[in-house]
């Protein structure tokens, strides 16, 4: 297919978005239903045409497209041809707009019977504006369909790190789905502020759209951590890099929103606050895109920077201006008349939850932009890294675990300490047993012990709530009803978060890094694992050549490697190998090889005999719990989508 077809698709998408905005504006004025469904489908059609054109060009290695010549090569395997669409900025915008357009069609379809409702019309209008903005970038400064005049025979291929692991197929799409998903609650928040109508059933529906995005973002973040754990070769999964923080910031405010909307649903409180959170979350996704694409912050994700900075920060300013301006105009008239009666109640604990999550977001944002602030005021450069973030994140996370332990069992309006203790007693004693057992087995890290204790109690609270839900459902005739009950999804997510938290605490506190030098057929013992080096293996194909080490860890064969990719001037990356079970991960890297062998691409160490290798051996207890917890969080989020009757409550 020709280049112009893809560009035509982008133009169709953009023009439909503009036409949709005009149509909805006219419809608002005349008080009629507009043609939002037509235009949303035209938007989707346009972007699907563009995406298909790009995919065909990538799969057929059509190097007359500049984007294909830079991110594809004749020897790139099919999977990485397809994922090549999001290996660089221009193509990832295609994926971004595709997901956004799909979501817009979903929203318009969902509210098709309320097409003449002012709130729906305004929300659709806002969504069309958002689509229009991101499509405009593709129509102008970041055109994915630029023609490549040079005659390219082979192509450069994607960045080596982006063709080393199949996770690259799932991590960016989920992350983007999370990001674009937050435009729905934003659009409805703006619509409600314009029309001044919030006392209806909208909040709970908005919560469901938000949880859809939140679940995708959570899974995207966990998969990103898994990807960097498997590919980057230092055994870590989170580095507080600006680009990672960019995904964490909207996640934090969205988490606050998901919780505080419950209070609005149950007690009619926090109306303006919830609208502010929806606006803040969307603004943070735009800000995150700015951090990722502008290059103003030093980041390891250097393959994604561009010159779009001013455009994106302009859009951020517009979002803030519209959102905060509307809040200033309407906010005071929309406030709820009553407040929280006493802090010691379920709603009081939701307030604490919101303060912690928003505070968390603020300290992460400050740490991320501090180098820029410092530079503006002082002219110098400064780096903020793990020491700052870990120091602020640890106490906030423990405080959140405390809330997770108590809040689900506290009563609305006014909690009673005696009743609360009665509900908590069993899990509190269990938590105590767990930490005493840990202390006996040599865990003395105070923060770790506190985190584990409250995590255990939080798991107890979640399980107790779930037990109540199942019992209530059985009284009504079948446990299946429990799946759709209001607290089920939330408590499953809580369980996932608890497992994830335990994994993070234990694996980071008790990781052991070692380096061993082994000759062929030599065996050593590291942290109780026997490690035997059985020799080298070489593989080579059109894509890459690899030197693998055959290493037996307690009898399991692992093959850490050094891989050199063809294209991109022969990028060489280390490929770690991991032996994982629920109790511990053993993480092997091929660090260096003894003198003489220069063919492998690994670092050569001349003072070692030829044929010996230096292995990096890292053992991380309970690391797999992170991924397990992530999966459970995803399942819990999916449960929210199960339809349920409004107002059912069991706890």
């Amino acid at each position: 297919m020709a280049v112009w077809i893809g560009r035509l698709g982008v133009y169709l998408c953009f023009l439909s978005a503009v036409a949709g905005v005009i149509d909805l504006g006219v419809a608002r004025r005349r008080r009629t239903a507009g043609h939002a469904r037509l235009f949303s489908w035209l938007i989707l059609l346009g972007i699907v045409v563009a995406v298909i054109d790009m995919q065909v060009a990538l799969v057929t290695h059509n190097f007359s497209l500049a984007y294909v010549a830079e991110n594809n090569a004749t020897f790139t395997p099919l999977l990485y041809c397809i994922t090549g669409m999001w290996s660089a900025l221009e193509g990832s915008l295609l994926l971004w707009v595709l997901l956004l357009s799909g979501l817009v069609v979903g929203v318009v379809h969902y509210y098709r019977r309320q097409g003449d409702d002012a709130v729906v019309q305004w929300a659709e209008l806002v969504l069309f504006v958002v689509v229009g903005f991101f499509t405009l970038i593709m129509a102008g400064p970041a055109d994915p369909f630029l023609h490549n005049p040079a005659h390219v025979l082979q192509g450069a291929g994607p960045n080596a790190l982006l063709q080393d692991n199949p996770l690259v197929a799932t991590h960016p799409p989920l992350l983007y789905l999370g990001f674009v998903g937050f435009s729905v609650p934003f659009a409805f928040a703006v619509a409600m502020l314009i029309t001044g109508r919030v006392q209806e059933t909208w909040p709970l529906e908005q919560r469901r759209w938000t949880v859809l995005a939140w679940g995708a973002l959570s899974l995207g973040i966990v998969l990103g951590a898994w990807w960097s754990y498997q590919v980057l070769g230092w055994g870590g999964f989170w580095g507080w890099d600006p680009v990672e923080n960019a995904a964490l910031l909207p996640w934090l405010t969205a988490t606050a929103y998901i919780h505080s909307v419950i209070v609005q649903d149950r007690r009619g409180l926090f109306r303006v606050w919830n609208l502010s959170l929806a606006i803040a979350t969307f603004a943070l996704t735009v800000l995150g895109t700015f951090f990722t694409r502008s290059g103003v912050l030093q980041s390891v994700h250097s393959f994604s920077s561009s010159t779009l900075g001013p455009l994106l920060i302009g859009f951020f300013a517009l979002v803030v201006l519209v959102g905060v301006g509307l809040l200033a105009w309407r906010g005071d008239r929309l406030r709820s008349v009553v407040g929280v009666e006493t802090p010691f109640s379920r709603e009081g604990m939701f307030v604490a939850n919101n303060i912690l999550f928003v505070g968390f977001a603020i300290v992460v944002l400050l740490g991320t932009v501090f180098p820029l602030l410092y530079q503006a005021i002082n002219g110098g450069q400064v780096t903020v890294g793990t020491p700052y973030f870990a120091a602020v994140a640890a106490p906030l996370s423990v405080a959140l675990l405390v809330l997770m332990a108590i809040a689900p069992l506290a009563s609305w309006r006014r909690a009673s300490a005696a009743v609360l203790w009665e509900r908590l007693r069993f899990s509190a004693w269990s938590g105590l047993v767990v930490i005493v057992a840990l202390m006996v087995s040599g865990v003395h890290h105070l923060t770790a012990l506190a985190a584990i204790f409250f995590a255990t109690v939080a798991a107890g609270s979640a399980l107790r709530t779930l037990r109540g839900v199942v019992r209530a459902a059985r009284r009504r005739g079948g446990w299946e009803a429990a799946i759709g009950a209001p607290s089920t999804a939330g408590m499953v997510v809580h369980l996932g978060i608890v497992i994830l938290a335990v994994g993070i605490v234990i694996s980071t506190s008790y990781a052991q890094r070692h380096e061993v030098t082994l000759a062929t057929h030599q065996t050593t013992v590291v942290d109780g694992q026997s490690i035997r080096f059985a020799g080298f293996a070489h593989t080579s194909d059109a894509l890459r050549s690899q030197t693998l080490l055959k290493v037996y860890v307690d009898g399991h064969l692992l093959t850490p490697a050094v891989t050199t990719y063809n294209g991109r001037s022969g990028q060489t990356v280390g490929t770690p190998a991991i032996d994982s079970n629920l109790l511990r991960d053993v993480y092997l890297t091929f660090d260096a090889v003894g003198g003489g062998d220069t063919t492998s691409g690994a670092q050569v160490q001349n003072n070692l005999p030829a044929g010996s290798v230096v292995l990096g051996v890292t053992t991380e207890p309970l690391l797999a719990w992170l991924w397990l917890g992530g999966v459970i969080v995803g399942v819990g989020s999916a449960l929210t989508m199960v339809r349920r009757r409004h107002g059912e409550e069991t706890a």
Partner: protein, 188 residues
């Protein structure tokens, strides 16, 4: 206050507008900036410590005796002293540049020397191995060396002349081109 939301929103609007202007006027990160350090032209403060274990052989090895000033043995050579840590993002961008520079200059009287800044040894070792560092690094227990130089944030790089005087301080991630230019000026 009769309209608290209005007041809060206006305050937020002012803060966020200032924030947007700040971000809009930033430029993409490019290299380190040379700063007028009070140490310039003075004798370089001592560097003590132990050698960081790493799996790669440095382009030019540095002899380290615990308790002695490492720089004493390097008189007559231009020394690039780089304070880094494994948690620092810009250091990740800079590490390959330093290695390339060390390798390019291995025939010249130029030595690259890393000094750990607020880091733990095991994390630093895996950082050095991961990036295949071609220069030695010093474990600066208690941040004594960093204090002598007045380093507040990694990466900070000092270029020390063959006569043992501080000739330049570079704050931020440096590059092969920048180091080459500075070292050329210093060696003359």
């Amino acid at each position: 206050m009769k309209r608290p939301v209005l007041v809060a929103a206006l305050v937020a609007l002012v803060v966020l507008s200032a924030f947007s202007v700040l971000l809009a006027t930033r430029h993409p990160v490019q290299g380190a900036s040379a700063v007028p350090s009070p140490l310039l032209g003075h004798e370089a403060p001592a560097i003590n410590g132990t050698l960081l274990a790493q799996s790669t052989t440095p382009a030019t090895s540095v002899a380290v005796t615990p308790g002695a000033n490492v720089l004493t043995g390097l008189r007559g050579k231009t020394v690039v002293v780089n304070f880094w840590s494994s948690w620092c993002g810009p250091c990740k961008a800079e590490a390959p540049e330093l290695s390339t520079f060390a390798w390019d200059e291995r025939q010249q009287p130029v030595v690259v020397l890393g000094v750990l800044f607020n880091d733990n040894v095991s994390a630093a070792t895996s950082f050095a191995n991961h990036y295949g560092s071609l220069y030695n690094s010093i474990v600066d227990a208690g941040g004594v060396d960093a204090n002598r130089y007045g380093v507040t944030s990694p990466p900070t790089t000092y270029v020390i002349s063959p006569r043992g005087q501080v000739a330049a301080e570079l704050v931020g991630p440096t590059s092969v081109a920048q180091l080459r230019a500075v070292v050329q000026r210093v060696s003359q």
